[in-house]
Symmetry: C2
Subunit: 404 residues, 2 copies
Amino acid sequence: MAGKGALEDIIILDLSRVLAGPFCTMMLADMGATVIKIEIPEGGDDTREYPPFRKNRNGEEESLYFANINRNKMGVTLNLKTPEGKKLFCEMVKKADIVVENYRPGVMDKLGVGYETLRQINPRIIYGSVSGFGNTGPYRLRPGYDILAQAMGGLMAITGEKGGPPTRAGSAMGDVLGGLHLAIGLLAAVHSRELTGQGQRVDISLMDAVIAATENTAIKYLESGKIPPRMGNRYAAVSPYDAFQVKDGKIIIAAGNQKPYEKLCIEILDRPDMITDPRFANMEGRLTYQDAIKEVIEDRLKDMTMKEAAEYVLSKGIPAGPIYDISQILEDPQVKDREMFVKMKHPTLGEITVNGCAVKLSDTMPGVYSPAPELGQDNSRVYGGLLKICDDEELETLRKKGVI
Amino acid sequence: MAGKGALEDIIILDLSRVLAGPFCTMMLADMGATVIKIEIPEGGDDTREYPPFRKNRNGEEESLYFANINRNKMGVTLNLKTPEGKKLFCEMVKKADIVVENYRPGVMDKLGVGYETLRQINPRIIYGSVSGFGNTGPYRLRPGYDILAQAMGGLMAITGEKGGPPTRAGSAMGDVLGGLHLAIGLLAAVHSRELTGQGQRVDISLMDAVIAATENTAIKYLESGKIPPRMGNRYAAVSPYDAFQVKDGKIIIAAGNQKPYEKLCIEILDRPDMITDPRFANMEGRLTYQDAIKEVIEDRLKDMTMKEAAEYVLSKGIPAGPIYDISQILEDPQVKDREMFVKMKHPTLGEITVNGCAVKLSDTMPGVYSPAPELGQDNSRVYGGLLKICDDEELETLRKKGVI
């Protein structure tokens, strides 16, 4: 996506499949990097077969999952198991800034294109990998999936109803966190290269990324000796900070400290006595007696809709908001203003909606420019044009041999 | 943290408090950036009063929350509401690369140190803000909290038991996602500055960051017209991919496609008939009849412990793992090998354990170098030394006036 993006001079060879790696390169492509998605000639990225599907102009079921996560990328095919494919890849590495892959550790080495080989070819190359458990340690060769990272990284253990089972965050949060950490590592390495002239290896583990996202869970346990319990929507340090039932659903009220609590008592509940009530006088008490506070709040708001209740509480300066499902998010004026969903034309799917980028840069605003590639659509443009590695005749020979 | 970190030449003025901003600058400090944490002279960052606490060498309760998230940072005090404080800050901006803040939008402008002012002083300055709803749009002035972002960004709506209530991810995931997106935006802007010579503004909304992390939820809804339901630990596209009860807890088995499913049937369940059984022959069937499959798996593993069951399933090449709580994570050999928790000496707290950095860089490995600052501990080192703005006498005057 050459243009005026923040990363417009960066060329990324993207061997990654499914979500963690592609989520990372999606963000980098949104910010202007040229992302060359490299897929196996037979079938390509697994997510080309992932739901949701739409019947396309050719009458075939085509994946919207793939179309969403791979917009803004160019697409080429390459079989790294052939000697010609390896050679072609090594030629590409000479002209690229970043290689991204999410194979199981060891696979790239076995293919003869591991980091040690690639840095000999181009010492400036930055090599980013994301895998279930990272490139080191006793579990490095274990298969990794999002749900395993959420389970072994400790997010499931702290998510769920009080007394209920451990619960997975409802999106592929392990993959997303892995992809975000990979983007940070790659961009830090790009900066480091400005200082040293050398590339390096970025190694991300989904399990590590989930552990990092549990923030202070370990110190809570280490200091108290108690495993932090699941507690629904409540928060161990602050109350009232929870979901409250209203007429047609639930809203959040988050009275983070003394001032909003007092406002809540006076302006919403009409119960100034709850400020001085010794049970609720400080945060410790409000944590102990949160059921009693909840009863008062829910009784006060029971005849209001989510929208009415949230606006009423907010109007008094107390943090509050509805619990939205995706249909409500798509209609929300703030979400529209922030362009968190973008409509685009897709050559075979017609008009589709894809996610916007959550990184807003004032002078180099990320954007959605081009649809996800058909399998191998940019073979001549990339091998022949951008990287000037092959002419058309060579490409035709490589195609016949199954190399591309 | 001048040293050999990837960001060793980057100076960050960090006005952020609590979690989203400080989580971002923690990562950048771990990667070698010089982070100058700027706190109000009276009391400093709110999290100095957040649990967990430990009695320190002076016999006072001191926060480990603050100590964890603010390691590797220098600390100065500054009152931006005084004319001298504003002047001092503007002098600092001349010598810095990045300003980070997480005030409600508009506060920095009211203080007279908004982005438009700062870019006049230093056109190379990169200005990063993270707030509940971002710096634009109808909700920009609303108070923002993690739980509101999780609720309004749609993560709660898809997290929880089937038929159960919407559920918050158990850590401050909205803040963490906001901090990660901010780090990506700042580093992209650092690179863009190499190309243009100009800084820019990075604007992150917690709500946007959560929406991005729900990945394909919107396209699922838009294509089917159905709100994606909460489904406990299951995943809409793959089965068996769930938590399974064993003797002493639950383990995850994630048979992502046909091959591991067949292995599971043959090598674990001794039920080759389940491969050809028309109910289970393809993924669609295995999604429809997942309760029946679960019954067979749980019956087979019911006499094994979590450790035994996970290792047994894994030994046949099928992705599996235990659901860990934090005590088990801290003892896990992979976690130790990856140094995801680091012991360090703290001048008043003694030995403490802090989170490690999940970004592993081969040549410039992030690390934990120095304890979180006492309030204002680096005033002379920063104002007098590093930035050479004031001499000792001036500093003493500023201190007496309550400016620092």
